[in-house]
């Protein structure tokens, strides 16, 4: 058996240098990563990368920074498995392997000139942040922007300072809710669905982008449809085990779709009749 070295393997990684590590919560950590020579990751908001640690493995992680941020990109990682657990032990200056970006992100070109409603539950803010910051950096290209954030308790809230910044802007409307408040919490209490009736956007020119835990989608979409937002204007980002990122290994398949290639962002009209999707 011959062993040939490959020049153009799809499994080849790029080295990513960790510029900054910041603990966000007990289980989530933020990483800023640069590719060699400051090469751009060249991603779209909503895409993901395969983060690799040799000896440990690879894991699909959403890019949380906007492509408008140059020279480096950012990940926010929850410690839930072998690879993410090992990532949490890394420090500034360490290197990780990066493949990607993969998949279809949010269709920002189609959003242009329209109003945007961003709905993020829990960890859903991680991919949505890439879109929100992209929109803010290109603010003149978009209409009204409304953001709804929800999580279990105030201490689970991610990107607090940035959320405050968004909130201070006059051209962004932001609403937060928690399932369970603590004494310092001044915002809403209740499920994220309770915030949707209060939005004030013209349905035919609004695109709603929804990212959250699997259980959330059905209920949020139901509320959005009540607001008469067209099905193809509702975008969701689905979580599956995207192992190879190349539409081959089969782990992320959702009926006839490969989440890693056809998704992770899907419009609701495309998946509403796909039983394994929601």
């Amino acid at each position: 058996m011959k062993k040939l070295t490959l020049k153009d393997s799809e499994y080849e990684i790029k080295k990513g240098k960790i510029l900054r590590v910041r603990k966000m919560t007990a289980i989530e950590t933020f990483f800023e990563i640069a590719l060699p020579g400051g090469e751009s990751l060249d991603h779209e908001p909503g895409q993901f990368v395969e983060v690799s640690l040799f000896g440990v493995g690879e894991a699909p992680i959403s890019v949380t920074s906007s492509p408008t941020k140059r020279g480096s990109f950012e990940l926010a990682v929850r410690n839930v498995g072998k690879v993410t657990g090992a990532l949490h032990k890394l420090k500034e200056g360490d290197e990780v392997g990066i493949r990607g970006p993969f998949g279809k992100g949010f269709p920002v070109r189609i959003f242009e000139g329209n109003d945007l409603l961003c709905v993020a539950g829990g960890l859903g803010i991680v991919p949505l942040r890439s879109l929100i910051n992209y929109v803010i950096d290109n603010r003149r290209d978009f209409g009204k922007v409304e953001i709804l954030l929800g999580c279990k308790t105030p201490k689970d809230m991610l990107f607090n300072e940035e959320v405050d910044e968004w909130n201070k802007r006059l051209d962004v409307k932001l609403n937060c809710t928690v399932d369970k408040a603590d004494p310092d919490w001044k915002g809403n209490v209740g499920l994220i669905t309770s915030l949707i009736p209060g939005i004030n956007l013209k349905p035919e020119r609004t695109f709603a982008v929804v990212v959250g835990p699997p259980i959330m989608y059905k209920f949020v979409i139901k509320e959005l449809l009540k607001k008469e937002i067209p099905e193809r204007h509702i975008l969701v980002s689905l979580e599956r085990h995207m192992k190879c990122g190349l539409g081959k290994c089969g782990h992320c398949q959702i009926n006839n779709f490969y989440c890693c290639q056809d998704g992770p962002v899907f419009s609701y009209d495309k998946i509403k009749n796909i039983p394994e999707a929601l």
Partner: protein, 253 residues
């Protein structure tokens, strides 16, 4: 990083799994290059009275004395590896649980049996917290080495949760059911690279059952290959009797 201090201990078992390490041949040198063995009754006479990093525990817990001893080992080590079927799932020692304890004691110790305390057989994870499992009767050395690497790297080791059949098919063995023999491969956890079947034997289920076995599905298998149900059940219980302890505790919850 200095080499982790590793100590081997054994409870009710045949010590055959430890023998697997002693007999592993050339790769033993690589393993010994990566760890510092401080206690290993089977191959060295030294005893270690200080703390150590990794405890490798063979055997099931079958007496009150053993319960105390395993709890002390747990306190002294950072990482505990249950090693071999007796330790990981109770193994053949579990057959004891089919009989009243007094009857068992009398059978073994005769009329003075009251002096010998005993408890029902338990696997090590049924008594103390266990960090890594190396299933098998005996352990499959390549898997043990993989677990050791995971320990050294501080990573979890996931025992495959699919059937031995998966690995057996990848090895392209002739299915032993085709030979008219019953095999527990379809319900037993993989990770052994179908070692027994590769060598002309059958799977005895020594690695424990997959977490979600289709217990009713056995019906079709039995029908297709015409094997008696009680034969399958006996085979199943040979290594897996201690499952009942987990099942009854689940029911209590």
């Amino acid at each position: 990083m200095s080499k982790p201090k590793v100590a081997f201990f054994d409870f009710a078992c045949c010590e055959g799994c430890q023998l697997q390490v002693a007999n592993m041949g050339e790769s033993l040198l690589d393993v010994l290059g990566a760890i510092d063995v401080v206690e290993f009754r089977e191959v060295m006479s030294e005893k270690w009275d200080q703390d150590f990093d990794v405890a490798i525990v063979e055997g099931s817990i079958t007496t009150p004395h053993a319960i105390e001893k395993i709890k002390k080992i747990r306190e002294r080590c950072k990482v505990l590896i249950a090693y071999g079927s007796c330790a990981t799932i109770g193994g053949v020692n579990g057959m004891k649980n089919n009989f009243p304890l007094d009857k068992i004691r009398e059978e073994v110790y005769g009329k003075d049996y009251k002096y010998f305390e005993t408890v029902e057989t338990r696997a090590v994870p049924q008594v103390v917290k266990v960090d890594y499992l190396v299933h098998g009767c005996p352990v499959y050395i390549p898997e043990f080495v993989n677990v050791l690497k995971a320990v050294l790297a501080g990573l979890p080791y996931q025992v495959p949760d699919h059937a031995v059949c998966v690995e057996c098919k990848l090895n392209e063995n002739v299915c032993v059911y085709e030979k008219g023999v019953t095999c527990l491969g379809p319900v037993t956890k993989a990770g052994c690279n179908s070692w027994c079947i590769n060598n002309g034997n059958i799977c005895y289920g020594c690695r424990g059952m997959v977490t979600n076995p289709n217990e009713n599905g056995a019906k079709d298998v039995i029908e297709k290959y015409n094997v008696p149900m009680n034969l399958v059940r006996n085979k199943m219980n040979m290594y897996n009797q201690c499952r009942e302890i987990d099942q009854s505790e689940q029911k209590k919850r």
